[in-house]
Symmetry: C2
Subunit: 350 residues, 2 copies
């Protein structure tokens, strides 16, 4: 009679933030891979590219030119998925065909004037300047009282649909609360109503006690692989202080967050000695919609790579139709990331 072991038996784990489960198949790592191998994008970009719409001084699709900026630079997305001026309206036929208008504002943030950098290759000071821009944009978008949620994110790498390698992120803000935020709000609200403490605060304390999935901590943030991670090397940055948005971060916290991002993304690059692709973004409380004392700021990193720089995890048939599934365990992933150097492989080879 065997006993049930998380590191060898197939099982499901609960995502306490969404209420959804992930199927974990730890025994399946020996599966040979004969499928798609990603082409690697060569990592030899120039510091300035005359054809890049994000480089200083260059022209953009809307006819404007970028200023000769020296830190970060923000502008409205020239191909925004959401628009400020959309007529009010809705449709409902028999509760079967249901639609609502949606307003929004979309911004693009260039992280650096240098075309050939990425976050891990920037200094903590330069990343701190990006965090400042995120906070400033969050505050200024929230001035529009029709905006209810502000999603700050980055798609990094061609494999993550990023159409320009110049280091940049995006903000999509909108008049309704999107799906993932609605789920996390509900779960955090329920927990807070019972315990009068933040769900993620208590979760972090338990993770600190167990010390099986924490990659590193600094003064203000902890970086870990969540117990319920879906993507092979998925991670989460959690603020140690229970604040519900970036608006409340102090100068010390902004610098700490920049440091945490630099260390995490450096470890990612070192894992397969490649510029590690991911989609990352902050989750925080809705705005202009009452109080959200339960909300606890955090940032998700969803990277697709599984075994090497060119073999990714596919979230396809079973995952799309039935349930998210992963092979390596979150504990295995956390250990691999923990043992990675905080010195970028490009520098340690120079």
């Amino acid at each position: 009679n065997q006993t049930f072991e998380l590191d060898s038996n197939p099982h499901t784990r609960l995502n306490v933030l969404t209420g959804e489960w992930v199927l974990v198949s730890p025994h399946r790592t020996k599966r040979p891979w004969q499928g798609k191998v990603e082409e690697l994008t060569p990592d030899n970009r120039p510091e300035y590219d005359a054809k890049c719409y994000l480089c200083p001084g260059n022209g953009r699709a809307d006819g404007d030119s970028n200023p000769n900026y020296t830190e970060s630079f923000v502008f409205n997305n020239d191909f925004a998925a959401l628009l400020e001026n959309t007529p009010e309206g809705e449709m409902n036929e028999d509760d079967l065909l249901v639609a609502n208008n949606q307003r929004g504002l979309c911004r693009v943030i260039s992280f650096s004037p240098k075309h050939n950098l990425t976050l891990p290759e920037m200094s903590v000071e330069a990343i701190t300047a990006v965090v400042e821009v995120w906070q400033h944009e969050f505050n200024s978008l929230a001035q529009n009282n029709w905006i209810k949620y502000i999603q700050i994110f980055e798609n990094k790498g061609e494999i993550m649909g990023c159409s320009n390698p110049h280091p940049h992120g995006q903000i999509w803000s909108q008049s309704d609360i999107p799906l993932e935020i609605a789920k996390e709000t509900e779960r955090q609200k329920t927990y807070y109503a019972i315990h009068r403490r933040s769900l993620l605060g208590d979760y972090l304390k338990l993770e600190q006690k167990k010390n099986e999935r924490i990659i590193f901590e600094n003064d203000h943030f902890a970086v870990l692989v969540p117990f319920w991670a879906v993507w092979p090397y998925e991670t989460m940055i959690i603020s140690k202080r229970h604040v519900n948005s970036i608006k409340l971060f102090t100068d010390a916290e902004k610098k700490s967050l920049a440091e945490a991002i630099k260390i995490l993304t450096t470890k990612y690059d070192n894992l397969f000695e490649t510029s590690f692709p991911y989609s990352a973004g902050m989750h925080q409380a809705p705005v202009n919609n009452g109080y959200y004392p339960e909300w606890h700021w955090h940032m998700h990193f969803y990277p697709p790579l599984l075994r090497s720089a060119s073999v990714k995890k596919f979230m396809v048939g079973y995952e799309m139709l039935a349930n998210p599934q992963r092979d390596i365990t979150p504990e295995f992933a956390a250990n691999r990331l923990k043992e990675m150097s905080t010195l970028h492989y490009k520098n340690s080879k120079a």
Copy 2:
């Protein structure tokens, strides 16, 4: 003062099967694409490949050899994500670290002995034989009273994580009810409790009346782009008769389903003149778990291509962190598919 129009204004649409919304940005189709362009897999495979683990007579990873089969062929997945024998067990620390064991059986179905075919290139008779196998496997897996759900699906194309181009599908069956099925059960149950009719039956009638998203119908099935489609050319096959699983399909229905699959996948191939990648699978009632009179059998097709054989839609940053998003409207996609020939482009060129 403009009025709100689904074909030009950004809006959200409700998925009545899951209760989730999709963000639609119809104005955004003019966005230029400078990002990742997929490599095309050459379409010149031999009828038999000595290195393929699905071809008749060849050896497999578990040491067995395939028989010299002439129609379809089923075997247990040699690298199954779920296993029959997993010790019972669960874990719960403070409702924050929660896990359960999960048992299951995973099968692989070769659709044809010929390595170089795909479903649209097979005859209706040969596809009917595949539908027979699906029904037979469904019934035989359901004999295990610990199995609660049976997911029948196909990943087609390298871009959908398919590691072998030999035409084949999979079945993953398991001891719990997966996420997507739980969502669709809840919505269908609620609708049925109120109306005493199937949600999808009523939805189909409304779609027939409007005739804006239906691609084609035959005696027993309708094929349409759902009002709430997420993927650019996502479609759904709905059975006209309200049955809750493939178990109840008659011979006439099985042949009709084969015909519907052949026509739909042929139109898909013709759209960009390429072997059209997708993940597809049936949704049906759980088994060995009481009655599900509300459940209405259907099959989803989730194809990733957006503009051409080499440019796909990326479900990344905003989509992963906030909400699914699409650019072209479901009505545009339905029209494109409607006008596609039912004769495969390879044959019309010969």
